[in-house]
Symmetry: C2
Subunit: 340 residues, 2 copies
């Protein structure tokens, strides 16, 4: 029987995921907002290092929201979330709540640590699957430029209130649906390890590049990699350890060398340059919550997170989500920011 | 006898200083670089909260460099330095070394801590006078907009290898030369206290505004004032204490409230927005050197300084002072940055 997939978020990562699953025989529905018209009429073109040049890709179905999707297609086997994870602006669980069913597994193909928490809170009986990909893929206009292979793995965030084997089998089934000779998708039995490992890069390099507005190559040449990112990495390794994940010491140099040869602009830097929100909450905010719970000191990550919070609010103001009074309020005015 | 002044740096602060001294009867020579032609031909116009509207201001003499100035005018009584203090790009002592004479007192009307150190190193027999002003004045094109009064004080950085009373009398003499009913310039007998006090603002608010690209009003509303600036202020107070300067606890709230009513963009933020170099070295770099000498921990200031260093190098690259290889070098390439 054909598996029914609902995909939320058709950017660089989501387009490749949609293409892959549809090509592999799934029935793919997509929720698109700003891209609704173009995707349902003309589709995207894809230039892919894995799949070559695809002049036109259109998902099987395109919907404006999850409610419409479930009413037309019925219960989905998987909801795959590939949007940026910005809980302070648009919580992901809100995006698909109308299409959720306890038989539908949720696949979070997104960055960050602890991203399953809010989903379990909203849907305590959910099967939630972690997806981590090393892909480099960006949507420019209506063209997907996929330049770094979709090296991906999936595995369950274990929900202790439902049958563990069922969760594992749903994750393994999803690996089968996603797998092909190009991506060689793998089952990941230690999701927590994989996510903490990736956080060593994202929490310590991606963040500092975003704050200083330089790519990872320049960050190294300008001294910030050793002075700021390395101390931040040590804190991430310590928090991970307190959270039960033992990362090897040489992970630091592995991550520092992972963009070798490239002046690579990581995702949060691109967000800043495009005046978009960054995923700082799931990339450092949750790690710091865990540090706090476990009593681990993380002074460097704390400042990076606090700086990124100010920058996020600057972005909110410039995008009209925050409106400030014309004259700077005094403390006695008791002004409080409201979010539009 | 008319006092002969050489002024280095005719921006917002320098123009008002030159105007004030000339109006008060000194013979004012100015070293101008990019402004040489306009200043020697047409002069600047000044709109001043202290002095009203001045359609044309021209210094008595305009020179291209200090060497030319001293050869035409002879030994100066005072050299007044009002440029930004960017030791990593252009050390101030280099700017006037050709005009220096042991009878010439140096007035550093500039931000920062420890700015006298490099001057004493270059000229061990020098009288060096500190100038601290709360002025708000900016040069736009050829118009000086002076909006915040020139509340200024001068006093000697004591040089222990020469007569102390001579230094004090030269500083007091300079106060007389500068004083008028508008600025009410004062003699400052505790220069070190005054400079550490101002650093509470500049090291903790100016820096964070520059990094996050928000003014001091937004920094407060967006939470950064309490989360980042306050901890940084505590570190500055601790370093000052180790350096023999006891600042009152309520200095923090005084500085936080000092721009009340205004969404005020501090100087380093303006530098960043104009793609100019920031004075981060004299504003936090030297404070951290002192912290290091005295064994004071300053983790927040350290990260702020490290981030500003990366940003400074980004600015250097964008201004052509640093040229990077087209392909990101590997560690095995042993690439080293050279400064143009």
């Amino acid at each position: 029987m054909t598996s029914k997939i609902l995909l939320i978020g058709v950017g660089g990562v989501g387009s490749i995921a949609a293409y892959t699953l549809q090509k592999n025989g799934c029935e793919v529905s997509v929720v698109a907002r700003s891209q609704y018209d173009v995707l349902s009429n003309d589709g995207f073109s894809i230039e892919s290092c894995d799949y070559g040049s695809i002049p036109t890709f259109k998902p099987d179905h395109v919907f404006k929201n999850a409610e419409e999707a479930v009413s037309k297609v019925g219960v989905f086997d998987y909801i795959v979330v590939t949007t940026k994870n910005i809980p302070d602006v648009s919580p992901v669980e809100k995006m698909f709540e109308k299409a959720y069913n306890k038989d539908t597994a949720i696949v979070l193909l997104e960055n960050g640590i602890g991203i399953e928490r809010s989903v379990f809170k909203a849907f305590p009986d959910a099967t939630v699957i972690s997806g981590v990909t090393m892909i480099s893929s960006t949507l420019y206009g209506t063209t997907v430029k996929h330049v770094g292979p979709d090296t991906v793995s999936f595995g369950p965030f274990i929900n202790s209130s439902i049958d563990k084997n069922l969760q594992i089998s749903k994750a393994k089934k999803f690996v089968e649906l996603y797998y092909n000779e190009k991506n060689k998708a793998q089952y990941n039995k230690d999701v927590k390890y994989t996510r903490w490992r990736k956080l060593v890069y994202n929490g310590a390099i991606n963040t500092v590049c975003a704050i200083t507005n330089v790519d990872s190559g320049r960050l190294e040449l300008f001294g910030g990699m050793d002075k700021i990112s390395r101390p931040a990495m040590k804190e991430i390794i310590a928090i991970a350890k307190a959270d039960g994940v033992e990362l090897p010491e040489d992970i630091m140099d592995f991550m520092i060398r992972s963009d070798d040869g490239e002046y690579y602009p990581p995702s949060m830097l691109i967000d800043i340059r495009k005046n978009q929100y960054t995923e700082y909450k799931t990339i450092v905010g949750t790690a710091l919550e865990i540090a706090n719970e476990k009593g681990v000191d993380a002074p460097v990550l704390t400042i990076l997170s606090d700086l990124l919070e100010v920058i996020q609010m600057r972005t909110m103001e410039s995008r009209g989500r925050i409106v400030l009074p014309e004259k700077r309020p005094l403390p006695s005015d008791n002004f409080e920011i409201t979010y539009q």
